[in-house]
Amino acid sequence: MISLDMNTDVLAIKCIKNYVFIGIGCTIYVLNNIRCKLEIKINVLHPDNIYDIINKSDDKLIVYGKKSLCILSISFRDDFIRIEQIDEIIRFDDWIINVKWLGALSDPTLTILFANNNVYNFELFSKQYFNTHCKERCLLYSGTIFGQSCKNTLIFSGTVFQEILIWRVMHNSNMKFSEVLHRLIGHKGVIFSVLYNPLNNLICSTSDDRTVRLWKISSTLINDLNNAVWKNIEITLQTTMYGHIARVWKAIFLKNIIASIGEDSRICFWTLLGVLLYKIEAHHGAPIWCIDISEDNIVFTGGGDGSVNSWPLKNINPLQNHVLLEINNHMLPKHIHIINRIKNKWYHIGKYKIEDSKIFSIKWLNIDTILVCVAEGHLYIIQFLKFSIKILSEHVLPTSRQRWVTSACVYNNLLVCGDRIGSIYVYNLQNNEKYPVQSFRKIHGQFGVQSCIIMNCNLITTGRDRTLKFYKFCDISGHNPTIEFLHAKTMPMDWVSKLIKHKNYYYVLGFKEKEFIIYNLSLKRIVSKILCGGGHRSWDCVMYNKLTNFAYIQKKQVYIVTISLDTLYNPPLLNAFHTKQINCIKILHILSKHHYILISGGEDCTLFISSIIPKSQSRVKFIDFFNGHLSSIKCISIFTVLIDKNISKHLIFSGGGRAQLKLWEITIKTNTANNNTLSNENISCKDLLSYMLHGLDKKRNKIWVGNELIYNTDTETRYMDISTINNPQNMDNILVFIACSDGCLRSFSYSIQTNQIKLINTLMNKNRCILKVHITMATDGLLNIWNVISTNDIFEIKNVTIDGKHDLSLHQSGINSFDIKILNNYEYILATGGDDNLLNLLIFKIIFQHNEVLSIHVVSSWGTISIHSAQITGIILLHNRIISVGRDQKLAVHKYSYNNSKICAMFLKEINLCISDVQGIILCVNQKPNTHLFCVYGKGFQLLEV
């Protein structure tokens, strides 16, 4: 087995010289900080995950996690780094909290603090140790070791009982326990980290109570780690800092600053007096697990989304801000003034009246063309000539309460306008038509469209509904050009005002409350926030070279803020994936030997598209993500509409919480010259529809009748699994079967042509949550098989009897995974894995009786409960192998054979997995003969070859 690639929580980060050492799962990644290049990737702690990386000078690395530890030797030479594992992994009986190599390199004794509040002085060569137990017996979540040598060591341990204990490690003493020297009391929750900084005599702790606390040691003599001195000193609580809105995992000292990281995805920077300097939302809502700082003051963070981000620790107040001019005019605008700048001077070159009404808005369409909006929704396209203007065309905006244009753009012969009530209208300029040929009513909600932009031959509109909306042009050079809506993306701001491209990156500009936001779309990160008072003002923002200029009016004054772009962000060292658990991954089949496409959905309500490139070093490449689900995505079904050498088209049905079904159309162009990379440009995704069983839920939950509150008593159904087939009667029609948590099997019919979905059947199966559909399986461990009869006017689902019964009991409780294969004309093999640790194999036969009603006969079965010790969540049937994965983080391989109507299987091998909360496994491709590439997913994913 080879573990090829992995993405899960990043728990460890260490900066040494120009290199960043990252621990993901059991693997260490070494990246060159300057070149941002992956230098080394090695598995060091398999199957345990790396929780921390500690360096001993620049020669050794101590890598540990859970109950294991290993030592690596590192050597730097000019532009080159080498890593070597010195010894085997050392495994202990208890959880490791902290490790230090305190003595000289020639004295290889490790000091190891364990979760039961005891310390080993562990001799690396002989593996002998001396154990010191603190007198206070309790469990630790955190702790730190401090000292100059292993003979003179202090322990700061953070307990589950909300205390920090300070005690000494004994050395060959006769005493049974070490006394507690100090007990720091104040936290109201479990202590998640403790740190002692001898330079400023501060102890910094973080806790479940969401605080960071600083404790001051008042003594002048603490450099001498003498027992008596530590006993006599006084430690007092100096400050308590609240800034996080969830648990605070860790804090580190960065010179005179403290940086704390938490479950709320934020980094807070504090002064040593406890004053908050600033906060960064760093990992898209995923918890931040680890933080370190490099010699050149760059902060690195690793999070639950599998990414590593870097933040320059400079500009705390870098913004240049100055007032440009004051305007004090109360006149309503009724004229257009044109000013032109020639040789650094502005000239007034004309004043024209279009109509005797107030001008509502003016939008530039071109270098010499503008769109003018006057009363009654009248629109004029005006071109500037040398000494006059020319009206090119006239149009009318459909009626609305606030009837004016807020944005516009022209592409070929199409004029696209967005208005104040959030609608988008398309006018055909070729035929000089007054009225729109296409309209998207209130596509941006009720607060209006902010901008229309053409980028890479596509249209993008932004609005005050927090979204970017993507469209493509159809038949653009033909007679009836139109636009087609593709999908939307939610932004971390209330008003999305503008999208600009600057040096390979896309930036979204907008406002959130009183701040102007610059967001890097490619890196999914807020680059800057400027307090300007909010979006209700005139402003502009341009980026050139390395500078961003933002001009705005506030309180009748014009301000300009200049920001240097490259000091504000660095690209992430590792890219982010799902921020929460992945519930499902499906493979999208394309005719390409270079890559495979993965579609994944998870608890973070986001659909991701990524590709696997089997021949590169980091094999999984993230391509794009899509929002639109209101709740978690639990299941995906792919229906391929078209597939050939150049292009493939697929329908993706995704379902999940809140009884929401979404349908996406993904088009992939595979004929592009560069075969090794698939980028966003090769893939387009269209959000076809969203179908909610109970309709949109505005005010659905609370209904007031007079003074009485009536609760909506409808079920909150979750969609657990989806299965799709072509309707054999009608090729345009797709039948969609959904397993629902309210015990119903719901059938839908989708028409490709009209893009409409309709509920055609609700089969109340049982009062048990159905987990899988294809055949149906529920939390009661029963298997049901259904016969679907669909002709033009009849749709019927009939239960098929299994050996004379309605269902077949396979498991004691939930059936969480299955795979099915056809063996021959009438015989099938079904493998199921359940909550009850049972792995089941079943051979059944379909029997056609004389009256054509089917029935099922079970031929043979086989099962084992001795392989997995927890729920089995994924199964794959291969030609003669069966692969199963479970929540015990194990992958098991069995060999099966079917002879003389008897099925039997034999255990071959098992593999420990690094990712937790395993939800399933998929077969990626038959890459080489005799090996298979698998992707196991759960909290992250792991790609392995078996």
Binding site: D9, N49, K66, D93, D94, F114, A115, N116, R137, L139, V160, F161, K188, G189, S207, D208, D209, T211, T236, L237, Q238, T239, M241, Y242, H244, I245, G274, V275, L276, Y278, E281, P287, W289, G304, K529, N701, Y711, N712, T713, T715, D742, N767, R768, C769, T779, G781, Q812, S813, N816, D835, D836, I865, S869, A870, R887, D888, Q889, K890, S916, K939
Partner: protein
């Protein structure tokens, strides 16, 4: 989240409030008892990590029912009324018929206190539904849960009668077989039970350990030096406890969504029987009414060891007024 969202998500959450249980976990013990009859003949029971007290509620209701039934059937005056002791570090709202000990289960005094309450006799049954606040790092959560279970086992070795029963929460995940093996050293029968009221999607299950039997050469004091000494007990290698589901099809299933008007009854909103007591985040939450900590610029700093959240709030308000 709407007021009824949780009611819709989970039928047992709803039923617990309707039937007056302090937590939905009450149903788990009820279903385990229905299957294994663990409460039969029990007169002395201990509930470890008892807060908020739903299992103690179940113990009092069921044990007293059993006692009343027996009394009617036999009219025997030698019958002993059941005694229940609940132990937790946290204070807990009182439950009638339950003696509360606010103490640490890892402390030897707690064991002595329990035995004293039972008139120097050992318990017939020890249960433990304790779980850590999960961090989201599964490895860590599983480890802490296993340590909690071992702490419960350690005190159980002192307070449980030979042949007695021990029921505890376990996380069915990586390395669970080690725990099974360790339990198997002390109990003839170790079964992994999953009540229907425990979600299919959850790691949680319960070990039902019966027929307690301390090995002859085993001295419980030897475990006192450290809890970690337990880690050295290996027992049967890689033992997988038999899995048994508790509850039948007549009972609802925690994964299924049911309409609020379930089984023909009109839905009425019930308040939770017991709100959380002293959660770690209480002070941080109380700040939210004054400043929104979610904002980028928002923070609160308390100087020194004497300044309190209330001091900050009043200072903040006066500053705002002026």
């Amino acid at each position: 989240m709407g007021k009824t969202s949780k009611d819709k998500r989970d039928i047992y959450y709803r039923k617990a409030k309707e039937e007056g249980w302090r937590a939905r976990s009450a149903f788990k013990l009820l279903q385990i008892d229905d299957k294994f009859n663990i409460l039969h003949g029990v007169t002395k029971a201990v509930d470890l990590c008892a807060a908020p007290g739903s299992w103690s509620q179940v113990l009092t209701r069921r044990l007293n029912e059993n006692y009343e039934k027996l009394k009617e059937a036999k009219s025997d005056c030698t019958l002993i009324a059941p005694k229940i002791i609940a132990v937790d570090l946290q204070a807990m709202a009182p439950i009638e018929g339950v003696i509360q000990i606010q103490g640490d289960i890892t402390n030897i005094n707690t064991a002595e206190q329990i035995i004293a309450y039972f008139d120097n006799e050992q318990a017939d049954l020890v249960v433990c539904d304790g779980a850590p606040d999960v961090t989201g790092l599964h490895d860590m959560d599983i480890y802490i849960q296993s340590q909690l279970l071992l702490s419960a086992l350690r005190i159980t070795l002192r307070i449980l009668k030979p042949k007695g029963t021990f029921v505890a929460k376990i996380f069915r995940a990586k390395d669970v077989t080690l725990l099974y093996s360790q339990l198997k050293i002390f109990f003839t029968s170790v079964i992994c039970a999953k009540p229907l009221s425990s979600r299919n999607s959850s790691f949680e299950a319960f070990v039902v350990c019966r027929d307690f039997n301390l090995p002859e050469d085993f001295n419980p004091d030897s475990l006192d030096t450290s809890i970690s000494e337990f880690s050295k007990l290996k027992g049967v290698n890689g033992y997988i406890a038999p899995f048994v589901i508790c509850g039948d099809l007549s009972q609802p299933d925690s994964d299924t969504s049911y309409p609020l008007d379930f089984e023909g009854q009109k839905f009425e909103y019930c308040k939770p029987t017991q709100s959380p007591i002293n959660p770690a985040y209480e002070e941080a939450i109380s700040l939210l009414s004054v400043i929104n900590l979610g904002k980028d610029s928002a923070s609160c700093t308390l100087q020194g060891s004497s300044m309190t959240i209330d001091d900050f709030k009043s200072q903040y308000k006066t500053k705002k007024r002026s």
